[in-house]
């Protein structure tokens, strides 16, 4: 009896969340792929062919035969999309590097702080993450505007005479990404650095190794798992970022998340935006799988 209950319970525990994710995560992707092979029409839903199971097998075969790769051919032929993909990856790559540059010293400083203040520092890093993403991006508009606070400050400090144009440029987008994603990078690096055995560094320094060399030879390699996880957590979502390029970027900012949104909402071209999403996903599949493996491995090693 006990065994029977246990097996029923274990089946439920697995199947409920499993089914939920299959219905609301996996199947939607299949639908996206299916619609990316359709054509746009003026109808509800605005694409054709639609598959109607009730119409019988022959009708289904007919509508499947209408599928085509036209949307993908269009994506390949129009340089706009190619450039948007490329510039998304470039912007995400540069901003990931910049986030690492800003975030590593913070994580390092936190890990080497006295144990009594460490938990407070940790809370201080997490706190901005709890405030809305939109609010944090919005805050930068007031700072970066031509008549904004940064320019007022720089003119007051006599650094510049004429206001800098930062808002609506790629620089603003980079600042926005670094700012919004910083906690995602600081936290994994901090947790690897905190667990690190500092006697290794002390030993190296006792043997005459300069602190900088000790850092590059010992500390940095040991913090690699955190660095890798953090960089994925910044890079992957940043490639498809929509809010930041939309609010802080300008006409020169070409990012694929924004392109997808425009195709979807302004042009109401659902098949084409689905094709854009499929290609974006194909682009990100390798980093996503690597990220998932790294996470699973980290969980295993904690056991």
């Amino acid at each position: 009896m006990q065994k029977l209950i246990a097996s029923v319970v274990s089946r439920l525990v697995i199947s409920v969340p499993y089914l939920w994710m299959v219905i609301f995560f996996l199947i939607p992707f299949i639908i996206v792929f299916k619609i990316s092979l359709s054509q746009v029409t003026m109808a509800i839903p605005p694409y054709t062919p639609t598959i109607d199971v009730a119409a019988g097998w022959q009708a289904m075969v007919n509508s499947i035969s209408q599928f085509s790769w036209d949307n993908y051919a269009f994506l390949a032929s129009d340089p706009l999309y190619y450039k948007a993909y490329l510039s998304s990856v470039v912007i995400a790559g540069i901003s990931t590097f910049l986030t690492l540059l800003v975030g590593y010293p913070i994580a390092y400083g936190m890990a080497r702080a006295p144990a009594t203040v460490r938990s407070t520092l940790l809370m201080l890093v997490i706190l901005p993450f709890w405030t809305s993403f939109l609010i944090r991006v919005y805050a930068w508009i007031g700072i970066l505007k031509p008549e904004g606070l940064l320019n007022q400050f720089l003119i007051w400090a006599n650094v510049i005479d004429t206001p800098l144009n930062i808002l609506n440029t790629n620089t603003a987008v980079l600042i926005g990404i670094v700012y919004s994603y910083l906690p995602f990078l600081v936290l994994p690096i901090y947790s690897t650095l905190e667990k690190m055995d500092y006697s290794l560094v002390e030993a190296a320094e006792d043997l005459g190794c300069p602190p900088i060399t000790a850092f590059w030879k010992i500390t940095f390699p040991l913090s690699m798992p955190g660095v890798v996880a953090g960089c994925f957590l910044v890079f992957i979502p940043a490639v498809g970022e929509f809010v930041i390029p939309d609010l802080l970027g300008g006409s020169e900012t070409l990012m694929i998340g924004k392109t997808l949104w425009n195709e979807f909402s302004a042009n109401r071209d659902w098949p084409l935006s689905s094709a854009v999403a499929v290609v974006l996903l194909a682009l990100l599949v390798v980093p996503i799988v690597l990220f998932q493996r790294a996470e699973a491995k980290a969980q295993e090693s904690e056991k």
């Binding site: 274990s10 409920v16 913070i106 939109l134």
Partner: protein
Amino acid sequence: MNTTWSRFNIVSLVIGFAFLYLPIVLLVVFSFNESRLVTVWAGFSTKWYVSLFNNKSFIDAAWVTIRVGLISATCATILGTLGALALTRYTRFRGRMLFSAMIYAPLVMPEVITGLSLLLLFVAIGFDRGIWTVTLAHITFTMCFVAVVVQSRLVTFDRSLEEAAMDLGATPVTTFFKVTLPVILPAVVSGWMLAFTLSLDDLVISSFTSGPGATTLPMRIYSQVRLGVTPEINAACTILIAIVAVGVVIASIANKRREVQKARDEQAAARH
């Protein structure tokens, strides 16, 4: 420890935290600005808060957001906790690789993809878009965060406690509620809070999956921001920040108290 390094640490922490907090502080300060301009200080005023509370569309959006947040965070916590149990307790079942991929992928999936795919699902099954579609979408992406948070607590859980309960004749369900849940409760609670704030914040997935009459607060703020920056938005943002800050402070005080209590209990136990 080398002094130059620790000075470097302090400087990098000060600069880092200034970078993290200055924009938010400025945003809050200018919500109390007398002037319509959000960048020129013209004296203290709370008039933007008054005009915000008289703005019906903001209030309506706030209610939608809170309702979606409460329902989706609660469902996501249940589903996410089950998911975490499945991942840590049952190391072998068919499709485990796929399941773990489906739990981790939404953490990094660009929101435009998740939003578009859920919208197309709702259209395909003929589900009218509105507050319920937003809620379903929020449950889906927040339950993964809950699963990861709870899982990290479960892997360090001492399973002999459960085995002892089962040996004494407790059913698996009783064991879960009497033994496992109390131990992992802090992680479950923080998972709920995380799910709630993620739902509160979400703009992109809500915009895709929402329909008429279901405008959330971030959607409302976003459409206002596109028209221009006003102190009224600053006031709305300040209220949101205040709610979150109060919640986090209460949670951390409760945590501290529990730790102090635990330490006291341990001392008392040691004395006996």
